[in-house]
């Protein structure tokens, strides 16, 4: 089986603010990690490989520092990593990202399954998986919390408003996964040592045979108009005193507010 896992590097902390003057993003800390749901996707791929044999490829689009995330994926057990890295790819929204990833994944054909996290925790869109499926003309199932596979078809449990829907799809397909699906392994020391010898290939826009109108900012229909901080003005009323006194005051307030 050849499984392709898409990963995104995201900031380690979501503790960001918007500068009130410049409207630029102020990030606390510069550490980056693999998007947590993507680690679930990789874990699922590694488990399927343990069952069926084959290879797991990881692919990501981003700046050169994404190599670090790909190194971790290799240390966790992926066989090969691909980084789509080019200034021309910068400023991409989900549509352009999905197109670019699709062009990269086509070069990895044949493949049986493409796994992604349900969304990236920074931008929180969850759009790249389905958009990628469309660009590759493959069926999709998203937000999967349990996956079974017999090598030819998959059965996927996905949470929906009515409970859990159980889908059955032929392979190849695109699947995006929930955190519930598994607990990702940590890279082992020996995995880290061995990963140094695994291939990490960097592809530029030229390597990918892309239509220049569909990549980067140019290929992105959406535009960010502005960033701003959510309005959160604190107007808490602290009820003082011993617990009993404070509790009585609270009950009185809640009655006044008619929420009791």
């Amino acid at each position: 089986m050849h499984i392709v896992v898409c990963i995104k590097q995201v900031p380690a902390t979501l503790d960001v603010r918007v500068d009130p003057v410049t409207h630029n993003l102020i990030r606390e800390g510069t550490e980056s990690v693999i998007n947590s749901f993507d680690e679930n996707a990789l874990e699922e791929a590694l488990r399927l490989r343990e069952k069926f044999g084959g290879t797991v490829s990881v692919i990501s689009m981003g700046p050169p520092q994404v190599r670090e995330a790909l190194r971790k994926a290799l240390a966790m057990g992926a066989d090969a990593a691909y980084l789509l890295c080019d200034r021309a790819l910068g400023g991409a929204d989900t549509l352009a990202t999905a197109y670019t990833l699709a062009q990269g994944i086509r070069r990895l054909a044949p493949f049986d399954l493409i796994l992604c996290g349900r969304h990236a925790v920074d931008a929180d869109t969850g759009q790249v998986g389905p958009e990628l499926a469309e660009r590759l003309n493959l069926p999709q199932v998203t937000m999967v919390k349990k996956l079974e596979c017999d090598g030819k078809t998959i059965v996927a449990w996905r949470e929906c408003e009515e409970g859990t829907a159980v889908w059955e799809l032929p392979l190849p397909a695109v699947v995006t996964v929930e955190s519930k699906i598994n607990t990702p392994r940590y890279p082992s020391p020996i995995g880290i040592v061995r990963s140094a010898k695994k291939p990490l290939t960097v592809w530029t826009a030229k390597d990918l045979d892309v239509d220049e109108d569909q990549i980067g900012l140019k290929g992105s229909p959406t535009r960010v108009l502005r960033l701003f901080s959510p309005q959160r003005t604190s107007h808490v009323e602290i009820l003082p005193g011993e617990p009993e006194e404070a509790a009585r005051a609270l009950v009185a307030k809640l009655r006044e507010q008619k929420v009791l």
Partner: protein, 381 residues
């Protein structure tokens, strides 16, 4: 001189940090209350290959060397001194088997110890012989293909939890240090039992017990190293162990400084955060300097070991300094927290109790100062 860690070591540090933040630190307070070894965490560490970091691939390790081992201990100690201590004590017994074991002994014991499937413990200290290691009283007497071991070992980390013990006893009572030999003793050997479990002040998530040898029959092939070589085995093991304790000091102090720093930035007093007060800034500055110096001592000692050079003095320096930095940092951290720091609602009092162990175990600061002093004076002669 290049102070950057390799890409490999950076990735491993990040991995241990993530593991510690998710799997270890949240349970440290609970293990302190329970006074028991967190087997779940030990199992997860084993699954993730922690136990094999410094050992070669042929025995199931990763062959990453001493610096990687030290980083493992440091990062674990940032979340739990107890868990770091458990691994340190395990290595203290596993490393001499690797260094002094026969090929048969290595094949028999190392795979399970390197994978962490079984824990190991190292036993030198006795109720009346701690720093004065040559003064141990336990004995072994030859009886055909066996040795008969008798005596009591005290303050043995991983006692009871370990399956494999490296135990130092006197095979020749007429000699001091040169009369000592070490044996590998398996749990369940007739005549070998676990004594009292200590109710320790700190590091309560690691177990410490007595070991009782009562006519314990150990096959002669279980002697580790040559007869009379036991003191050397112990000292070689302790050199590495001391670097690891230095790393525990760095980790423990880092945790205390981080807690104090967060609190100082948040807590308001005199119309601003505590962090604006110079008295607090000075304390944090001393912490940061101490930690950085302790880390460099520790890393350099590990580097010397990996380079195959003598490092007994540097190991002792790393240990004494790291332990004392941990103590002073935890003490000051409590001071910054004020009354809250003195309660069990905040972790800094626990860190202080944990840190105190580092000044005592694996060579008390006083005896190690003797080592450093003597070795330095020898060079100055």
């Amino acid at each position: 001189m290049d102070f950057r860690l390799s890409e490999e070591l950076e990735l491993w540090r990040k991995t241990v940090r993530e593991f510690t933040e998710k799997e270890v630190a949240p349970y440290d307070a609970e293990m302190d209350r329970a006074n028991d070894l967190p087997w779940d965490i030990v199992r997860k560490m084993s699954e993730s290959g922690f136990f094999g970091v410094p050992f070669p691939e042929e025995y199931g390790g990763a062959g990453m060397g001493s610096l990687a081992a030290v980083i493992t201990i440091e990062e674990l100690a940032r979340g739990s001194a107890s868990v770091a201590l458990t691994l340190d004590a395990h290595w203290l017994a596993t490393d001499p088997i690797f260094m002094f074991g026969t090929e048969e002994q290595k094949k028999k014991y190392l795979p399970d110890l390197v994978s962490g499937k079984k824990l190991a413990a190292f036993a030198l200290t006795e109720p009346v012989a701690g720093s004065d290691a040559a003064g141990i009283m336990s004995t072994a007497v030859r009886d055909g293909d066996y040795w008969i071991l008798n005596g009591t070992k005290a303050f043995i980390t991983n006692g009871g939890a370990a399956e494999t013990y490296v135990i130092a006893v006197k095979t020749d009572k007429t000699k001091g240090a040169r009369g000592i030999s070490t044996f590998i003793v398996e749990k369940g050997t007739p005549g070998f039992s676990i004594g009292k479990k200590e109710d320790k002040m700190g590091c309560r998530g690691s177990v410490t017990t007595e070991l009782i040898l009562d006519n314990c029959r150990v096959p002669a092939e279980n002697m580790l190293g040559k007869e009379g070589e036991g003191f050397k085995v112990a000292m070689v093991a302790l050199d590495f162990g001391r670097v690891c304790v230095g790393a525990m000091g760095v980790g423990c102090a880092t945790a205390a400084m981080e807690a104090a720093g967060r609190y100082a930035n948040q807590r308001q007093a005199f119309g601003g955060p505590l962090a604006k007060l110079q008295a607090v800034q000075f304390k944090i500055a001393d912490m940061a300097m101490g930690i950085e110096a302790a880390r460099l001592l520790t890393y350099r000692a590990a580097w010397l070991r990996d380079a195959g050079q003598r490092y007994t003095t540097e190991a002792a320096m790393a240990k004494v300094f790291g332990a004392e930095v941990a103590m002073s940092t935890c003490k000051d951290a409590i001071q910054i927290f004020g009354g809250y720091g003195y309660t069990r609602d905040y972790p800094v009092e626990r860190y202080l109790r944990d840190a105190k162990l580092l000044e005592i175990g694996e060579g008390a600061s006083e005896v190690l100062r003797m080592v450093i002093g003597m070795n330095t004076l020898k060079e100055l002669a």
